[in-house]
């Protein structure tokens, strides 16, 4: 039973039910696997093994009394270091929050606990979720399990790498401009950003409030669907969280996919796209055609403007959100401060890393007197145009298929000195956040160098069931989801 860490949720629940193994045995298998590979991966910032085993015991006890809480009961879920878990550290991979312990649970964490999930560890990320490679962490870089010299993507690099490496069954990340989908694609796992407003952001440390959204990582589409069912709730503590009927995303996957019209935006297949990625994604799209779906070319004409619009809006919101880290009520406090102003600026200068400083500066600048209209207001108007592109496209199609990233995983250090080229690696994912739509990345193949390639499936607002169904159909007709990195 030493390879329980490899299984998917439905297999684990079956094993629990027919008493082949317990949740404690599963947790031990995951811990053992983590101990053996973590030295090479560095997916975690913290692991509370004792707490994880206690939670597993509690799940076994519930099950023995016939009081199982559902499909996630007794399943380890890794948590990105940006979500509050009561009595656990919350560092956002920053020196700024080095000694912070959360006094409360994020709403989505509360939901997971109510589903019986084992809250497992604190996963590495780019500091305050700012980055695309998990190189901007104060707690070391995370390696891509498929090639240890490559980055895992970011900002939720630890969430993606831990799932790919078998250090957890599933995990949670957050996505502001691609921070779930991009690392999922580069690590060969499934990652989903739900519709804005579907999951509460209460207890998520805010980066760009109009874009941030929590979402699942897993090795199979169905596991993401199960995790999503638990995460979704209306929350009075988050005024952007929406009241909706609960959907059973995983059950939808059991029925065959209806015939759909799938849109292929020509702007996503132009120059800048790696030829191997293009070939692999194109043949995945061809597979849908052979299954009787109709494939149509569409246009999202404002696509090339997404990067400037995103980096104006996201940094503006970040500069405002991160003003709370001032060294007063919590967070790092400088020892070199004679007065209040020095306390603020020295604490922030010492506590934040280079990328966070860069984005605070950029955001402060675009909001500053005399520049607001030229940058921020103009970007908000172009954001309307970008949403309009999607609205028009969805008059014609049920979902949109694109590559998730323009290239496979790149080497560590390759882009870390060139922020603009790092920003451009998000080019296919950020328009979805600007428009507030749901999208996921699903593995659709490997390059000659054995690096995974992901395809992005974008849906209408609240079209989660559709995009999960589309990805699931491909997954079950291919064997990529069964491939594991050799570690």
């Amino acid at each position: 039973m030493s390879d329980l860490y490899q299984l998917e949720i439905s297999q684990l629940q079956k094993g629990f039910a027919d008493k082949s193994f317990t949740s404690v045995e599963l947790m031990r298998s995951v811990i053992e696997r983590t101990e053996s590979v973590e030295g090479r991966i560095n997916a975690f910032i913290d692991r509370d093994i004792e707490s994880a085993l206690q939670q597993a015991e509690a799940a076994d006890e519930r099950r023995s009394k016939g009081q199982s809480l559902g499909p996630l009961d007794g399943i380890p879920v890794g948590i990105k270091d940006i979500l509050a878990v009561k009595d656990q550290p919350l560092r956002c991979a920053s020196k700024m929050l080095d000694s912070y312990i959360s006094p409360y649970d994020a709403t989505c964490i509360e939901n997971l606990k109510n589903s019986g999930a084992i809250i497992w560890g604190r996963l590495n990320m780019d500091e305050f979720a700012m980055g695309s490679s998990t190189e901007n962490s104060a707690y070391g870089v995370t390696a891509n399990p498929w090639n240890l010299d490559c980055i895992p993507g970011g900002s939720s690099g630890g969430s993606a790498a831990s799932v790919a490496a078998g250090e957890t069954i599933v995990s949670i990340g957050t996505d502001t401009g691609g921070s779930i989908r991009q690392p999922a694609a580069l690590c060969g796992v499934v990652g989903m950003k739900p519709t804005y407003g579907l999951i509460s952001r209460y207890g998520l440390v805010a980066f760009a409030s109009s874009l941030d959204q929590v979402g699942p990582f897993s090795r199979t589409v169905k596991d993401s669907a199960l995790l999503l069912e638990s995460l979704v709730s209306h929350d009075p503590k988050d005024s952007t969280s929406l009241k909706r009927e609960k959907e059973s995303y995983s059950q939808v996957l059991d029925s065959p996919l209806r015939k759909l019209t799938l849109g292929i935006p020509k702007e996503f297949f132009s120059e800048g796209l790696d030829p191997e990625v293009k070939e692999i994604v194109t043949s995945a799209i061809e597979w849908y055609r052979t299954q009787g779906h109709s494939i149509v070319e569409i246009s999202l004409p404002h696509s090339e403007l997404c990067v400037p619009v995103y980096y104006i809006i996201a940094t503006a919101e970040a500069s405002s959100n991160l003003a709370r880290f001032d060294g007063v009520r919590y967070s790092h406090r400088s020892k070199e401060a004679e007065n209040m102003l020095e306390l603020f600026s020295n604490s922030r200068g010492e506590g934040f890393g280079a990328e966070v400083k860069r984005r605070i500066m950029l955001g402060t600048y675009v909001l500053s007197s005399g520049y607001y209209d030229a940058y921020y207001l103009r970007a908000q108007k172009v954001r309307s145009l970008i949403r309009g592109d999607f609205e028009q496209a969805f008059d014609q199609v049920d979902a949109i298929l694109t590559p998730t990233t323009p290239t496979p995983a790149f080497n560590r250090g390759e882009k870390s000195d060139d922020p603009l080229s790092m920003y451009l690696s998000d080019i296919f994912t950020i328009s979805v956040n600007l428009a507030g739509l749901p999208a996921l990345s699903v593995p659709v193949g490997f390059t000659k160098n054995q690096l995974p390639v992901g395809m992005q499936v974008i849906g209408r607002a609240f079209g989660e069931a559709d995009i999960l169904g589309i990805a699931h159909a491909f997954e079950r007709s291919h064997s990529y989801y069964q491939m594991r990195p050799s570690l």
């Binding site: 407003g197 952007t240 007063v328 790092h332 600026s345 402060t364 030229a374 940058y375 603009l420």
Partner: protein, 97 residues
């Protein structure tokens, strides 16, 4: 968007309450000017008559229903998070001379 605009790094750092070393200022000036240059492509877009979009969903005026007091953190919980505290209060440098 202003043309040939180079960023006044000291002014912006002051607005952001962010202490930067001279070296950081130099690297960042160059990087920020590069990034602002990339933003200039937005100038070419005709945005006349387009409403700015602040939010992903068209949701307005969300009010709390039955706003009732719930549990709050005790002073000891909050003080534990503060870098320095005394008598249930956060200690900061003197603000008024």
């Amino acid at each position: 968007m202003p043309k040939d605009q180079s960023i006044d790094i000291n002014y912006v750092a002051d607005l952001a309450r962010l202490k930067l070393s001279d070296e950081e200022k130099e690297t960042m000036s160059n990087q920020l000017n590069d990034i602002l240059g990339h933003f200039e492509q937005l100038n070419a877009v005709d945005v006349s008559g387009i409403e700015p979009m602040a939010h992903a969903l068209k949701v307005h005026n969300v009010w709390r229903e039955g706003d009732e007091a719930g549990p709050v953190f005790s002073p000891s919980v909050v003080n534990q998070l503060a870098p320095e505290s005394r008598d249930n209060q956060v200690v900061v440098p003197k603000v008024v001379e």
